[in-house]
Structures are given as C-alpha cells and as structure tokens.
Symmetry: C2
Subunit: 292 residues, 2 copies
C-alpha cells in the first residue's frame, strides 16, 4: 500500500483486514455506505480497551478508599468490606471483583453525599498515585495500544467513539481524555444518581438502573446516542447484547499469558456467540503486534 498503515500495531491477518474492509465499506460511496451521522462505535472498557486483571481498576480504587476509611475510623474495620481490606482477606477480595453491580454499588455508597467535584478529585488523586500491581505502571498506561489506534482510526473516519462500560461513568471520565483522547461526554457507563441540592451537584447513594451491562448496554447506547452501534467491541459475556446490535462486532480474546493475561472465564458465552454470529475475534496473542 502506498498510504500509511492506519493500524501499525495490528499484525496483518484476517482480523485486521476485516476491520479495514468494514471501515472502508461504510465510508465509501456505494451500497454499504453509512452517513457520518450514523457512525457510532461503542467499546466496553475493562478488558476491551484496557487491562482488567488481576482486578478491575475501579476495584482497586474502591479498595484504596475502603482502606483509607478503615484507617481513619477503626470501628469500620469490624465490618465488611472494610474488614477484608484491613485484614488483606484475599479470598473475600478475590470474589468481589467478579460482581460488577455490587462493586459499583459499593463505590456509590462510599462516595454518596459528596459533590461531583469532590468525587472527581478523589479519582484524580487515585490515578496520580496508584500503580498496576503486576505491570508496575500507572493505570493510565494499561490501555491496549492496538485499541487506541483503532479508536483514532475510527474517529479519523468520522465515527464517534463511545466507551460503554459496566463500570462507573464518572470514574472513567476523569482519565478518558488522557488515556483515550476522548472527551468526557463520550463515556457511557453505570451512573450514580446525581441531584441539584442548594445549587450543588451532589452524588447520592445507589446506582442508576439499568446498569450499563448485558441488556443495559444497548439501552444506554440508545439513551445516549439515539442509535444502535455501527461497530462495537467487547470482551466478555456482559457485552453480548451490545455486540449483537452492531453491524461489525469485535471480540477481544485474552489468550496471551506472556504479554497480558490468559482467561476465558466470564467470556465463554461471548466466545460461543462470536462463533455462531460470525463476529471478528481479536486474539491478543496473534493480532496485537504490541499490547501496551
């Protein structure tokens, strides 16, 4: 090719070619052309755009918070979840990361009754100091380079890319510009209820329903964009409904224990749906020339 490769960190192969062919088909005049206004791309975040192992980034954030709260008020350490954090109860902590709704609820409760700005500040402080436990880098550096390239490529082709995360919307928004080059309004995610109280925007306890997972993803995407995704990317069972709505569905497969993590747990049904539906599977081992 004479034009520069828009996806240099993707290895040549059927996956890369499928992406390039699809984007060309919807941006070139002809039967499959899609007007720019309808070019909505949605990506799950954890495990799709950045590393979700050994635990969700947001889980580490809430553990930090619970630990700090237990330190400040030792009585708290007699109860869960503060107890587990204070005692380093790996079994209890290991089980929580697989329960997104409870996790989101826990975050929301820990941060209910504070202003949206105070929450922003706490999240910013976390990202400024915390590091990924095995990669040893700030969490802002654990996004997959090939996926960053894909976002940039789609935006250059007049797609608007949205991050459609089961995790907390207001959590991701603090770093979405720095990590993904996307403005805050492009983050769709599970929300905390917010109210205007004495002229201040306050977070209240609880979570907004539906949460942005499973059947909630197409609902959130419709509510936020008024459209179905033209292209969607995910990596887990909670992404199936979103991927089913898209014209082009990309499933990231975690099969690279050496450079990232290898696991199918929580993605078994998604992998089966990919096979049945003819979705494009991005193997981290085979398709990513570079991971981070």
């Amino acid at each position: 090719m004479s034009t520069p490769d828009p996806l240099p960190t993707w290895n040549d192969g059927t996956t890369k070619r499928a992406i390039l062919t699809f984007v060309e088909s919807v941006t070139t005049k002809g039967a499959s052309f899609v007007p720019a206004a309808e070019r909505i791309a949605t990506f799950d975040n954890d495990g799709t755009l950045w590393c979700e192992k050994p635990m969700y980034v947001q889980a580490d954030f809430i553990l930090h918070k619970w630990g700090a709260m237990a330190k400040q008020d030792p009585k708290l350490a007699q109860h869960q979840p503060y107890k587990a954090v204070a005692e380093g109860d790996a079994k209890w902590l290991g089980s929580i990361t697989s329960h997104v709704p409870e996790l989101v609820k826990g975050v929301s409760e820990a941060f209910g009754g504070i202003t949206v700005d105070a929450f922003d500040q706490e999240v910013g402080d976390f990202f400024a100091s915390a590091k990924h436990p095995t990669l040893g880098v700030p969490y802002t550096d654990v996004a997959y380079r090939p996926m960053l390239e894909l976002i940039e490529f789609l935006e250059a082709n007049e797609f608007r890319v949205f991050i459609c995360s089961a995790g907390g919307r207001d959590f991701m928004r603090v770093v979405c510009e720095e990590v993904y080059g996307l403005p805050r309004e492009r983050v769709i995610g599970t929300g905390a209820p917010v109210e205007l109280k004495d002229g201040k925007l306050m977070r209240t306890a609880g979570v907004e329903h539906p949460i942005d997972d499973g059947p909630g993803k197409p609902v959130h995407i419709w509510q936020r964009t008024g459209r179905r995704p033209l292209l969607a990317g995910g990596n887990a069972d909670g992404d199936i409904q979103m991927l089913s709505e898209a014209k082009f569905s990309l499933l990231v497969h975690h099969d690279d224990a050496k450079r990232e993590f290898a696991y199918d747990v929580g993605a078994e049904q998604a992998l089966a749906a990919a096979k049945a539906g003819g979705w494009t599977v991005a193997s981290i081992a085979d398709d990513f020339a570079t991971v981070f």
Copy 2:
C-alpha cells in the same frame, strides 16, 4: 472588520458583542482561555431554538396522535385526553400545554410498548405532514435563524452544542440533524424508559426521572457530558438552574408580537434572574435581524 461576520442575522448591539467577546475570550490563549474539551454549550429547545407558540410542537404531535387514536376507537373519545381532542375542547387543550410533565407522560403513554423504531417513524410522519398553525410552514422551518447561526458559530469554535429540552429526547432526535445540523447524540431531553425485550429496544410507559427541566437540567447535563455548560441559552423559568451553572448565560426574550409572539408568562423569574445575575438577554425585537 476584515473577517466575515459570523452572526449576520444578529443586529449589532450589546448582545451580539457580548457573545462574540465571550467566545473570543475562551478560545484565545490567555487567562480566560478554556480548552476545547471543556467547551460545552447547552440550549433549551422550545422557545429558545424554535418557536413554542401557540403550542409546543410536541403538544401538537400528541394531539394528532390522540385524535387518530380516538378516530380508530370511538370508545376512547369518551375519556380525556381523547375527548378534548375529538370535541376540539380549546379550554382543556389550552391548559395542557402549560404542563410539561403531564404532556411528556401523555406522549410516553401513547407510545409505550412500541419499538423505538416505530416511535421514530411516527414522529417522522408527523413532521412530514404537520404545519405550524399560524406561520403555515412545516415545523422543521420554525427554528430561529440567529440561533442556528449561533450554533454553527459555536461548533466552528470547537464547542459541542447540546439541546437540553424539557420535551422528549427521542422526539427531537428525529429532526435535530435536519433542523440544527446536530447529530442525535447531542440531544439531551426527557426520556422514556427503554428496555431490551426479546432483542428489541422497546419504549415503556412513563418518563425517566428527573425530567429535563428546572433542577433536572444541570443533572442531565452532568450525566450526559460530565461537565457544567460553559455557555447556556434558555428562555423560561425552567431554564434558570441551567443558566445559573454556565459561565455565559443567554436568555431569549419573546418581545416581538409582529414577527413572532410576545409573552413573558412562564419567564418572569428567568427575566428577574437575568437582571440579578447579569445574564445576556437576547431581545427578539431588537437583536434578531431576521427571526425565521
């Protein structure tokens, strides 16, 4: 000036100059510069971007719908609101347009249990046939030309313009591209609950809370953009909280009975707040060189 006037349908005066000065101040390097990512502009729709008299466009839509339903099932005409429509009860109909929540609820009930696509189609059919009762043009032609220019001017200066309407989000989205040149995801508004049922996105009865009016506007804007508006425009009391959140607040004043409609009812507190808060008031009579 040597550069072309970006707002030719605004008369020269303090209002136009205030807008130009503000936009220049936030886009020029210096103490008041605001990064592009933070340039969010939000506008109320009815009475701010397009004509809301003698009744909300969406009110006319629902009256059309109720009328069609009553025709199809004469038993319905024994009950309100179908009775009022069937009988042309001006008093009942006149009172409904001042009750946004009931109106939105009425729309939602009339269209609950149908797919989002079927609703889209019904709205599209309405806009294709209905005309403004006094202006005699399609409703897609009742936007204020100076406000269209302002939207274009802001977008050219890397603002993202959002329509923050108390009215139905999914209603406005059908024509936002044609009328305002804005993609669907730029419409914030009162939503109908949506659920994924057997793989279909269905509208359900009721409205999402809070509705996008009064204190709900800053909440919706935060939920949708993660920011407060840098510039906001409104025209009525339900816009006060949104206008209070913005750095630059523009209040459209309906004082032109000749070219549009003259009324302060429902805007009394907003006009007082504008005076107290030093907001910029756009007089349709004085500041708009052209209205439509």
